[in-house]
Symmetry: C2
Subunit: 327 residues, 2 copies
């Protein structure tokens, strides 16, 4: 692996554009699987929570840290990136935040890109503080993530500070456009004079992404588009040709590989597909029941990750990607 | 002061409804001034940052903690509530989060209500994790805030988990409806078939607030409505009669007391008006230049807070409120 292909950020050298680093990482692993790190206490493998007092935030935080590191150990050789869900760490107070910082650092140490799912948003200079907090791998920011999810209700001037910092630090942002929850359409699908609201948000994302696209044609501004609306996925792929799509809703939320195929470009790039519960808590899935002993939950995680990689490979050309030269 | 009037939460006894506790606190102080805690490093009083290395998150976090405690010491006898802006603490990594937890605890110890400005949002069970993290004063949640700001783009099913937890724990949520930033209207003002988007969000807020209004007629779901749009403030006061309005944009962002008068009900309740920079960094305001020595910055904060209290008193009946009995 040449240095240019590495997702690792050298403190002495600014990283390449996020979109290019993501493309390289996806091409290297030949899959667009994104593993969501959502440590839900009640669903952790019994071996992980044995003796942990659920009422003690510090003990839970330590269990989350250990669990996420063990997940990372399994998936680091298989996928390009992980997506820690901040809510589950924030739920534990300051101890949870310290665990989150450790999990981010460990994922990067294992050469995974880290997309933090925090859905942050605020006006002008406050948005800049959030951007400075999270965007920028390794030493470039205190949390050290490669990208952050952000919410668009406050308009373009609330997103621009994130874009500016992302551009400067080789980081990325994923703007919520069409979410995967049942009620996502309540506001997002509302007709406005010429198109539904989510298409207006998509137009803004495209404009921001086009300001300085990376070598591979994608900019630092991506979009979150739920897999649970396949027609809109195709429509939004076309509407935001310079944006990576982060696609939640696979697996536990009901969508399959055929549903997400439209999110990809002709090379099998341009989209990453998140799965959290179906991978993290694979030990509890009935398909795997009896296949692994209780202390072999990491084998179940490995099997579930490989299963999703195969499913996506059957429907997208990502698996046939070679090394990305000259990007 | 009877126990029922106190903003303090006894671990052994669930607190009263947030809306009623807020009304009591506003009536007790006879002002709707809300002090925003936005520690911006470059604007802190020189005495606070002397010798602090800006590149060291732990040192900055300690300076923020000290500064916020000193602000709280000044404003606790004067106002009902403070609003820490999470972004500025998150900007410092885990050390900042620990400082935030301390600042929240100290504000509550000084009998201030704490409205956390985090603009959180996510789908279903993840929203529930955020709600569990932040909502519930004192021992009821790890962060221990009385209320949290939340963002509505994901629809009703993303807000309901916050409302459920708020209701259960005597806490509150403030949903972003019409924000104070210049670009706030880009999506919020878009016409939808029968009304602009922000009125749709307001209708949802009203519906959620009406599910179980407190004794004073207000529910646990409030709304953020910027002072920079006075006509819309009156319109939204009427559209959400059961919701407290959190009104940003006063002072540094350009709105005055006349602009916010329409946010209040006939008793001078129903709205709290935030000021951050004009109070926190009063030492640097030219009106106060020469009045206070450099180490007397707390006197400038006191003067600025009293000035805003007087301004609001001239335009709203809040100052004439007596003790709220039988609520």
């Amino acid at each position: 692996m040449t240095p240019a292909q590495s997702t690792h950020v050298d403190a002495a050298q600014p990283p390449g554009a996020f979109a290019d680093r993501l493309a390289e990482a996806v091409a290297r692993r030949r899959t667009a699987v994104l593993v969501g790190l959502d440590p839900r206490f009640d669903q952790l493998p019994p071996a992980t929570v044995r003796g942990v007092d659920p009422a003690c935030p510090a003990a839970r935080a330590e269990a989350y840290r250990t669990f996420c590191r063990e997940i990372i150990d399994v998936v680091a050789p298989l996928v390009a990136a992980v997506k820690p869900q901040m809510a589950f760490f924030e739920e534990l107070g300051p101890a949870g935040m310290t665990a989150l910082a450790d999990v981010i650092a460990y994922a990067r140490q294992r050469e995974l890109l880290v997309i933090l799912d925090g859905k942050r948003n605020d006006i002008g200079s406050t948005a800049a503080a959030y951007a400075g907090a999270y965007l920028g791998a390794g030493p470039l920011s205190p949390w050290g993530a490669d990208a952050l999810t952000v919410s668009p209700y406050l308009g373009a001037d609330s997103l621009e500070p994130f874009v500016d910092v992302a551009q400067e630090r080789g980081a990325g942002v994923f703007v919520l456009v069409k979410t995967s929850n049942p009620g996502g359409g309540q506001f997002q699908d509302l007709p406005t004079p010429d198109r539904p609201l989510y298409r207006r948000v998509a137009a803004l994302v495209h404009e921001l992404a086009m300001r300085r696209p990376g070598a591979g044609g994608y900019g630092c501004v991506g979009a979150v588009v739920g897999a649970t609306y396949p027609e809109q996925l195709a429509e939004l792929r076309a509407a935001m040709p310079a944006s990576w799509l982060l696609v939640p809703g696979y697996g536990a939320q009901g969508a399959g590989a055929k549903d997400v195929a439209a999110a990809f470009d002709a090379n099998g790039l341009g989209a990453i597909v998140n799965s959290s519960r179906a991978i993290l808590f694979a030990h509890a899935r009935k398909e795997f029941a009896g296949r692994f002993a209780a202390d072999q939950w990491q084998l179940a995680v490995d099997a579930a990750t490989r299963e999703m990689i195969s499913e996506l490979a059957a429907e997208t050309p990502t698996a046939r990607l070679g090394r990305l030269d000259s990007r």
